[in-house]
Amino acid sequence: MTRFTSTYAARFALALLALSACTSESTFTASEVQPLDDAVVALDATRGEARVLRFGAGGAIEGRATLTFDEGVQGVQTLARPGRTDEVLAVHQGRVGDADEETLDAELVLLGPEGERGRWTLDGPYLSFAPDEAGRYVLVSQPRRRLAFENRVEVVDLAQPGLTVPLSLRSLGGEVPTAAAFSPPLPGDAETPLRVAALFAAGQLSLFDLDAPETPPATIPTTVGGGAGPRPVEARFVGREVVVRTERSPQLLVLTLNDFEGDGGLRFDPSIRTLATNGPVRLLRVDERGELPRLLALAGDTLHLFDLRTGAETQVAVPMQHTDLGFFDGPAPGDPVVRPRVVSYGGTAQLTFVDLGAAPTEVLGTTDLRLQAAPTAVDLDTGGGRLVLYGGGGGPARQASRSPFAILDLFDRSATPLGVTSLDRAVLAPEGRSLWLAGTSDGYVGRLDLDGGQLEERFLTGTSITSLLPLAGGAERALVFVRGGDGLNRFRVLTPGELENGVELPRGAF
């Protein structure tokens, strides 16, 4: 299962959930719910409080933990930690003080099923928290003070509890950091592996040594001449190279982090080159399944496959509407060899399969597959070798008014059509085996076992479904949130094979 993890960061409308616990102090109202491995984190942003429930056998509550931020902090929210189903981030923006209230620093807390795992306190209030794709770092930006240096950010290293790294962008024209990308530890001559942060800003990219944050960065303009260049929007580290996608640009920037041989300054010396594409690049992926990395870029009506060493490329025609790429290994019709393949999809009824050879630019063949309808959403289950194709609307957590219309076998390249009646919620479980289903109005819940094809179902009579939240963890459980005929909100723990026995938790369970 490669994506969709972050979409479990379901942010629920207060009116929908309002999971209330009547206490002597005040009511806990879950404004956000995040799944964990066999556990869930609920957040009451108003109270500045997060609660963790851990489920045991049969879906019973096995443990609980509470996190309470200081009173008065603002912007409390939860964030999924990319690549990790056992941890969630709870953050707040702090508070700019006044004559009556002191300034509170922003904070970030790492939560696991058992509760708090780590805490980081920033140097002042900040507005923005953005975890990186690998889930190791969080970029904290947009400082807020009476007078704030807006080119300043802090980087939270989730692998080092308590450690934050302050960085100051070299603003050539007053620009401020908008996003960042981080390298994995890069082996080099030095004892300390090189870790590089790339800060994005309008018209430039700045590279910092995370282990020497006080050293001025290397600042790379995204254009030549006097005009403002495009803003970097995505960067991917491939060994000692960084590939950067810039806004609406038909070329990629490739920065090579050469060893710096002088004294002082950065431990690397960047050089730059570009790779041209047939149009503005809308997606960038690195395929490291082979001996040599292969860079893939969707641009215009072309999928470009680049060999980063040589800059050589191969082009594959794809529909302009394609927005995503899925990597999988497996056979194909007429080709029983398990080899790396790519499927390009999105926005149109046509999918394009690309069969890859050993060399980065080697394409053994391409196949177009036309579906009966264009999906509005697609989930890739790499392990299961399938795509789940949805029709209908999007909305919060991409599940409202959405139903599956086909399951595509990536190896056989055939689609099993699904007909649905009064079904308007469908969410794939993190492990990819279970497709959880719901009918909003009649309390229908179901689970389709994608491996075996069996459908379990039951009706939660007298309720309407407000949300479905699959949990990570081996049990493949899901939470279904319902509103009863009595107007009260409850949630129920659903366990595969035991839907009839699902544990319904009363209000106040959080």
Binding site: I220, P221, V224, I272, R273, T274
Partner: protein, 555 residues
């Protein structure tokens, strides 16, 4: 005078046509047997006195920024020049002055000049194995043109004709070895520079030819100015540096200027039409001039004769022996000997090219062969003139499309013909001949056998988008049409005339070759710079891009 035997009756149709044109004021296409053509629908002209002028498109086969092993790519905005090695693809960027123009390299040498307009400086870029060393010299005047002599010792920088020209008479001679610039004032409006033997440069100006002895220049030097005695067009200096030849188009007159004595000889092309009018005369001209020509006939015929005598193209023999004047309307080519017999009409050779439709000529590098064509009329043929044979041999080679311009390989073995597309949509036409007519394309013509290879292209091949391997083995074309999304590079094997497409991701801007490395390159339009090198032996490609961005990295 070796005049074609034509009777007076030949003039009558021209007179009639002239009357008809003045009466109706309309273009006319003409008719006639014309040159042979693959296309039955093609029309060759007869003597068309109202046809548009010939359009001369110079095919240089090399962009200006190519040295021996380096490509010099200027980033105007960053005020730097990227020096790209075509052998190992290494890149260095070198700062130049403010407001640089694209650098110009000395042919066959890794030396380039950057004219920095805003800074009024010149940066001399010398590249050796260890890198590029820039030297900046102040310039006392504006300059936008650079001319290098063949020895690589001198360059002359000046401001060429343009609507924004501010410097009309100053130029600088650059001693490239000593990195010294010497300002010199020449005649008004320099336009071209020729280098003769013995380190002498000839600067073509509106006033005549300024003669510069490059070895004895100082700031005090005022060079000799040789005048044609009238304002001439297309002034060209013979390769031996002895004469300059120009023409006065409206007078049908060629002028030869002896650059050592200043003596001017005149050749009236009307004399080549003696069979159509009055007998030619060899009367001496005005003082200081020798005059070859003819007395005008009566007023009625003299205007017609003047138009018949109009020179549509003038070319000089690379071996300085003769000038070739094309009289398109009269359908004649006149070979005029250069030197003492320039104005002696009896020494001229007049070649009749009836129905061939020749308005322009290109000469092979040895002057043994010329190829005639017209860019102004709908003629689908070339006319090959064998200039070494006695009398001059004439052969027609049929084409399938009309001609925009023609370039010859240095050895004269083949011609590259860039075609003009006809009006209409080529793609949607089911008729093959019409589809060909309406398409862009080029032809390669084996001039020995007359074999023609037509290649239709998705965009118009431009003269600036061509490069020829000096050994004559490969020809390279860059094709670009932003409207049609065309961005392509073609490699043509001259031995077989096979055309290979090399796809490009970005629109091409320049094409060139590094003959010593067996590599061609195509520069492309991309932010940060982009060059693709193509090994014409192996077909391998190597693209380097973004090198101009590197200069902007702040560390």
């Amino acid at each position: 005078m070796n005049v074609l035997q034509l009777g007076w009756h030949r003039l009558a149709p021209f007179l009639g046509i002239g009357v008809a044109l003045s009466a109706c004021g309309d273009d006319f296409g003409g008719a006639g047997t014309g040159a042979p053509s693959f296309d039955a629908g093609a029309m060759a002209p007869s003597a068309d006195m109202s046809a548009p002028p010939e359009v001369e498109l110079e095919v240089s086969f090399e962009p200006p920024a190519v040295g021996l092993t380096r490509l010099y790519a200027t980033n105007v905005g960053a005020e730097r020049v990227a020096v790209v090695s075509a052998s190992d693809f290494s890149i260095e960027t070198v700062p130049v002055g403010a407001g640089p123009l694209p650098a110009v390299a000395a042919p066959g040498r890794d030396i380039a000049v950057s004219l920095n307009r805003q800074a009024r400086t010149l940066t001399l870029l010398r590249t050796n194995e260890t890198g590029t060393v820039p030297s900046t010299l102040p310039l006392a005047h504006d300059a936008d043109q650079v001319a290098f002599d063949d020895t690589g010792r001198f360059a002359i920088v000046f401001e060429g004709p343009s609507e924004r020209r501010r410097n009309f008479q100053d130029l600088s001679v650059i001693d490239l070895d000593a990195a010294v610039a010497t300002r010199i004032v020449v005649g008004f409006g320099p336009s071209r520079v020729f280098f003769g033997p013995d380190d002498v440069a000839y600067v073509v100006t509106e006033d005549g030819i300024s003669v510069l002895d490059l070895t004895s220049l100082s700031e005090d030097t005022r060079p000799v100015l040789r005048s044609f005695g009238a304002r001439v067009a297309d002034a060209t200096v013979t390769p031996d540096g002895r004469f300059a030849i120009g023409q006065i188009p409206s007078e049908g007159e060629l002028r030869q200027l002896d650059l050592s004595t200043g003596e001017v000889a005149v050749a009236h092309m009307a004399a080549a039409l003696a069979d159509l009018g009055e007998a030619p005369g060899d009367e001496p001209g005005s003082e200081g001039m020798s005059d070859g020509g003819m007395a005008p006939a009566d007023a009625g015929t003299s205007g017609v004769l003047a138009r018949l005598a109009e020179v549509t193209d003038l070319d000089l023999d690379p071996r300085s022996r003769f000038a070739l004047a094309v009289l398109r309307t009269a359908e004649r080519v006149v070979r005029v000997p250069i030197g003492e017999r320039f104005g002696t009409t009896a020494a001229w050779e007049v070649l009749g090219l009836e129905g061939e439709g020749v308005g322009s000529l290109v000469l092979a590098g040895d002057g043994a062969l010329a190829v005639g064509f017209t860019s102004a009329l709908d003629v689908e043929a070339l006319t090959v003139l064998d200039l070494d044979s006695e009398p001059i041999g004439v052969r027609a080679i049929a084409l399938r499309k009309t001609v925009r311009t023609v370039a010859l390989s240095p050895d004269g073995s083949f011609a590259l013909v860039l075609h003009r597309p006809g009006e209409g949509n080529a793609v949607q036409d089911a008729d093959e001949a019409r589809r060909i007519d309406r398409s862009d394309g080029f032809s390669l013509v084996d001039l020995a056998t007359g074999f023609v290879r037509l290649s239709l292209t998705a965009a118009t091949p431009e003269p600036s988008g061509l490069a020829l391997d000096p050994a004559g083995e490969f020809l390279f074309l860059a094709l670009r049409s932003d409207a049609r999304g065309v961005r392509a590079f073609q490699a043509v094997d001259v031995a077989t005339f096979a055309v290979d497409d090399v796809p490009l991701t970005a629109p091409p801007t320049t094409v060139g070759t590094f003959p010593r490395l067996n590599r061609a390159f195509v520069g492309q339009e991309a932010d940060g710079g982009r060059v693709t090198f193509y090994d014409w032996r192996s077909g391998e490609r190597q693209t380097i891009a973004g090198f101009e961005l590197g200069a902007g990295i702040r560390r």
